[in-house]
Symmetry: C2
């Protein structure tokens, strides 16, 4: 009923009541809104920007359907003249943004919309919805990748993701951040994310004998034989795999891996590794899942646990230790004049902005500056123009290209952030010009 | 690209590799799967079941599109014969479930699917995805309603929800649990949830003067004049509302309420209430938002803070203090034989089940029993047949009817759970018959 790729009803009622007022007041000058994270969650030393691609697709496609307009009319809250205008609504603004996969911090504007006020206002809710979630998940995934750089990490989270779109976009964001792929088929089709899978406990349980389940699975799926060995007794099942492997080889079937999904994963992995090696199955990999997050991965890495890959579900797709970011999309300029919200604890840095990043001679990030758009600062400017008058500037990067960019960004992280040291911070400076602008607006008590 | 209401690619790869094996083995006897929460999060004393309606819609509509089948064929992992079968795939199984809005606890099967094994297996991922999320949010929302029974609670969470579907379904689940409505327009259209809204800070900022913003909004939206007063100075803005109200009245415009969104909400509400009352605006309500959850609501209730309604966003839509449930959809019977998974820490109670609830003479719940389907137990059986051979048994209840059911359920909660007392528990007993069945299967080392 609601087409998520374009529905303008994916918004809050107040956007339309405000539009109704803007229309009566003829307030359609250019407004500049910026999306930024106010403050990182305590458990995050950095974030990775993601979701830009979905935002641009939405801005290109967003419109009201006839059915949606009829529904709005039936609410009785909107003038016919407003509804007539909404029927023709298309986004015609400009957008600047950082590329997906860019490392970002608090106060840094990662997307800037310049458009007639009613346009920039109406898209607020969906734009935050898209940027917030993928940035949340890419950031969590990046931590997992840093915690287990040599391991193959696969998103297993669709079932615990918050709805279907969350499952799809989590798979995309995790791949962007360096995951090997996902178990979610729809994410493979929608985004080209590589798809991986093994078998479920129900498969083993439905068979009368575990070995029979393994043999049948291998015969039916010869290209990816990964056998789940923890349905009853993990080590006993590993022994069964060792016994079965020579018989399978006679049918040209190779066991590629085993999966462990319960108990003490590290302890089981060590025992299973020994059983497999003693049985001549040194090439069979061990894949683990179940309550895995970056902290578990770090502990395994420190203890050299012989696990080759991990399925990460719930903790990834819900970003369980930090399930939201304190982010906002705020009006910074209207009709050429900088604006500032001064609400307690939520004051914003006013005006159109840019931010700059400096690197040392080894390419490691050493500090950022958030500045007024026209200020000259040291470092590389990170906000780039991506859309003008509602049309993209050039074809979007492929997901693979964005993933490469993300990998380069992660290599440029300072060591304390790369090692996920708790409490590690990164210097983000507010420029002299921005301080002055804020002070001037406060003194004027202007907007 | 992916139609979330019916796409069978909203699943994990392993479901299809298992189907490929089941097909070769002619394993298509009836399987019984049950969905249940293993253990409640520490911060939850009860849960509220939700999402059943979306599950049934999905089961009725689920199919593969030609494009999806072509994509699957292109992966090279699936036999043509399997793909031909998938082209005809329709769900033809039976479903038992508890009504939406029912209070539930750990180990209680809230949905049971009986269908040929490959059918019951394939729908697993999306079925968990739908039941998990709405149950998660309805449970969080029910806590908010219990914490502030006399207040009007509105879902404000779309922007921080995990994607669009999460925003829509959170609005639905919160309304089911007793919220007054949502700010999300699309949820109004899709589910008939009442829609509420005020104005944003950007609206005030875009105007040169706050009073001018208030007057313009009232003129444009006479039916719901709720003015946001914390953009610059909350109490000063309340004074402006008092000064403005008589002028508005001359135009037959009534200020219905003010909203506070930052700072110490309780303290501001008290000051603002006094200003409004002293200004003769006793009927103007105070609405608050910003970092509100059930704990904040309880603190306000205890201190008799003069706030009439709350917008609850992030904490509701992400269930921030418990962003996931430890839930599963597990094979309990295949081909007439009970099955049991025995993985460490994840062992399941086997067989087709039912669960029963007993009440005292005041209608208060006093204990549940989870039992084998054919056991006779005291109390009311809660699992009801809802679908047979892929077709619903009768028209679904309206959302309003389910909301009534939820309200009755909440009234039947024991006082410690209704008061959200920390550590409050509820007795759920495993029946004698179920213990015996589990012991027998363990002794047999059968599945």
């Amino acid at each position: 009923m609601i087409d998520q790729s374009r529905s303008l009803l994916l918004t809050d009622l107040y956007q339309l009541t405000m539009l109704q007022s803007y229309r009566r007041e003829h307030m359609d000058d250019v407004a500049v809104f910026e999306f930024f994270v106010r403050k990182l969650p305590p458990s995050r030393g950095f974030l990775m920007a993601a979701g830009l691609e979905q935002v641009l697709q939405y801005l290109e496609q967003a419109q009201f359907t006839q059915a949606e307009l009829r529904w709005l009319a039936d609410t009785g809250q909107f003038d016919e003249s407003l509804l007539a205008e909404l029927a023709e609504w298309r986004f015609l603004g400009d957008v600047h943004a950082v590329p997906e996969g860019t490392i970002i911090f608090g106060d840094e504007p990662i997307l800037q919309v310049s458009a007639p006020l009613p346009q920039a206002q109406l898209v607020e809710s969906r734009l935050i919805n898209l940027l917030h979630f993928q940035t949340l998940i890419a950031s969590k995934a990046a931590r997992c990748v840093l915690a287990a750089p040599a391991k193959s990490l696969v998103d297993f989270g669709l079932r615990r993701a918050h709805g279907a779109e969350a499952g799809l976009l989590a798979a995309r964001a995790a791949y962007l951040a360096g995951f090997a792929g996902t178990a979610t088929l729809a994410a493979g089709m929608a985004f080209g994310v590589p798809v991986y899978g093994t078998m479920a406990h129900s498969f083993v349980q439905a068979h009368d004998e575990e070995t029979q389940a393994f043999a049948a699975f291998a015969a039916a799926n010869p290209t990816a034989v990964v056998l789940l060995i923890d349905t009853y007794d993990t080590e006993a099942a590993a022994e069964k795999v060792v016994a079965l492997a020579p018989q399978l080889r006679k049918q040209d079937l190779i066991v590629h891996g085993v999966r462990i999904d319960s108990g003490d994963l590290a302890e089981h992995a060590r025992l299973v590794r020994r059983i497999l090696d003693d049985g001549g199955l040194c090439d069979v990999t061990i894949f683990a899942s179940g309550d895995v997050d970056e902290y578990r991965l770090m502990a395994h890495a420190a203890a050299a646990v012989p696990i080759d890959g991990y399925g990460i579900g719930t903790h990834l797709d819900t970003s369980a230790d930090a399930p939201y970011l304190d982010c906002a999309y705020k009006l910074q300029e209207y009709a050429g004049r900088p604006r500032r919200k001064r609400s307690e604890g939520k004051a914003t840095w006013p005006g159109r902005k840019q931010f700059y990043r400096r690197h040392n001679e080894h390419g490691v990030m050493i500090g950022d500056t958030v500045a007024c758009e026209n200020e000259i600062c040291a470092g590389k400017a990170l906000l780039e123009p991506v859309m003008r008058a509602g049309r993209r500037l050039g074809p979007p990067p492929s997901l693979a290209q964005s993933r490469e960019h993300a990998a380069r960004q992660m290599r440029s992280l300072p060591a304390p952030l790369r090692h996920l040291e708790s409490g590690a911070t990164y210097p983000v400076t507010i420029s002299e010009g921005l301080w002055q602008l804020a002070a001037k607006l406060d003194a004027d008590k202007g907007g």
